[in-house]
Symmetry: C2
Subunit: 228 residues, 2 copies
């Protein structure tokens, strides 16, 4: 469902060029649960942005569900994202001065769902991450870990085919992290949700089936995880 | 050096009131290294904001270096912060469209240091967190963990008496986290830097001497850590 071939992403040119991705090959099949780890600055978020059709590689091929992404217009890529991908950004990217509920509803607005249906689905998504009591709070009135969970709820509310989660538990205590990871694993095992998750915590990576280790823009290792 | 007595912080009133802090007592002596842990939403960042003179409690007393903080004007509190406290925010709070170097120089501008001296100190601070090669990049061109490290460098560049760090390794791989924690421990042991650090990772909390566990706005436990 995701096929990256010799993907590179270079910022700048000449001496100061940064090879954020330096020729990566990656194949993800439907229903897989993959963890990506690696040092700070090794290209994990850049890889996620390419996979999520948010960034265009400098070279190489990317086929998403069989479609050559390079051949799509910006609008077509936006449609692809909105219908198939739920994205948890490393920095959450919530709308300020907008309630948690409205933030979570956003993907459903894009899909043209009616107001009553949207609110119901958004409240359920917030309940799944333990935040129904904070539905009316905007991000400025939420703790760091609560903002993170709103971002997770938003990524899942539209029942996407693929979830891309960049450090989804980076600001969560261990107990809440485990609850979130158990939920994600359930969505993967029972719902067939394909998950690619960046994490720096080995205990969270174990919920995935396969571990990709990145170093300096390349994939250094690609192997099964020990599991839970 | 930090004395909180029966500190409460309530948001809102009546039924929807949120007791973010619900009567906490805490004494921190000069040179201590304290870790704060607890569930998401338990009041850790709120406690840090009160300690850092960024937020005023609803009730209780706060004495910072013997001074009643409630009796200070806003300008006096800002002076206190700029001279004595280095703060790493949970969301970093870097200036956008401003280079890493200029972000780190900011505390020194407040202290009236000359340009050449500021740049030298800022470059050294960036080198200590492994980012001298990224000095010219603004936050939009830095990875999540690089932004986090710029925030850490900025907190330390002015050689503060007290460092307040809210999840300083939340987006860092284990190896980089350990390097940062070793550096902080050195500053504490050799430099006498007082450190209060929120973390959700037990392995990082072990670098501290004492662990405070918060639940629902209260301090549930206050005990020594097992150490490294
Ligand atoms: N401005 C506000 N208005 C109302 N409630 C607020 C406001 N700011 C924070 N809160 C609430 O206060 C509680 C404590 O927040 P705080 O940010 O201190 O938690 P925390 O322990 O740092 O959590 P995390 O580990 O997720 O960062 C949370 O439940 C949050 O929803
Ligand atoms: N717009 C840009 N211009 C120049 N360099 C950039 C830009 N964006 C990112 N980089 C660089 O590309 C490299 C990879 O960044 P990326 O965000 O993918 O790392 P990462 O593995 O996600 O790191 P972290 O674990 O810290 O989040 C970094 O060294 C970063 O400085
Ligand atoms: Mg990243
Ligand atoms: Mg917090």
């Amino acid at each position: 469902v995701i096929v990256l071939e010799r993907i590179s992403r270079v910022y700048g040119t000449g001496e100061i060029a940064v090879r954020a991705l330096d020729g990566i090959d990656l194949t993800v099949r439907a229903g897989e649960f993959i963890a990506i780890m690696g040092p700070s600055g090794s290209g994990k978020s850049t890889a996620m942005n390419v996979i999520g059709c948010l960034d265009t590689p400098s070279s190489g091929n990317y086929r998403f569900m069989g479609v050559e992404v390079a051949g799509l217009t910006r609008d077509q890529r936006a449609l692809l994202r909105r219908h198939y991908i739920g994205f948890v950004f490393q920095g959450y990217n919530l709308l300020p001065r907008t309630s948690a509920l409205q933030n979570v509803e956003l993907p459903l607005i894009y899909r043209g769902r009616g107001r009553a249906e949207r609110q119901k689905a958004a409240l359920e998504a917030l309940a799944r991450v333990g935040l129904e009591s904070r539905a009316a709070h905007d991000p400025g009135r939420l703790s760091g870990g609560q903002q993170q969970r709103v971002a997770i709820a938003r990524a899942l509310v539209g029942a996407p085919k693929i979830m891309l989660a960049d450090e989804p538990t980076g600001n969560l205590d261990t107990r809440t992290s485990v609850e979130i990871m158990e939920m994600l694993r359930g969505l993967n095992r029972e719902g067939g949700l394909t998950i690619v998750m960046v994490t720096h915590e080995p205990d969270m990576a174990r919920y995935a089936d396969r571990l990709i280790w990145m170093v300096d823009g390349r994939i250094a290792r690609d192997e099964p995880t020990p599991g839970i």
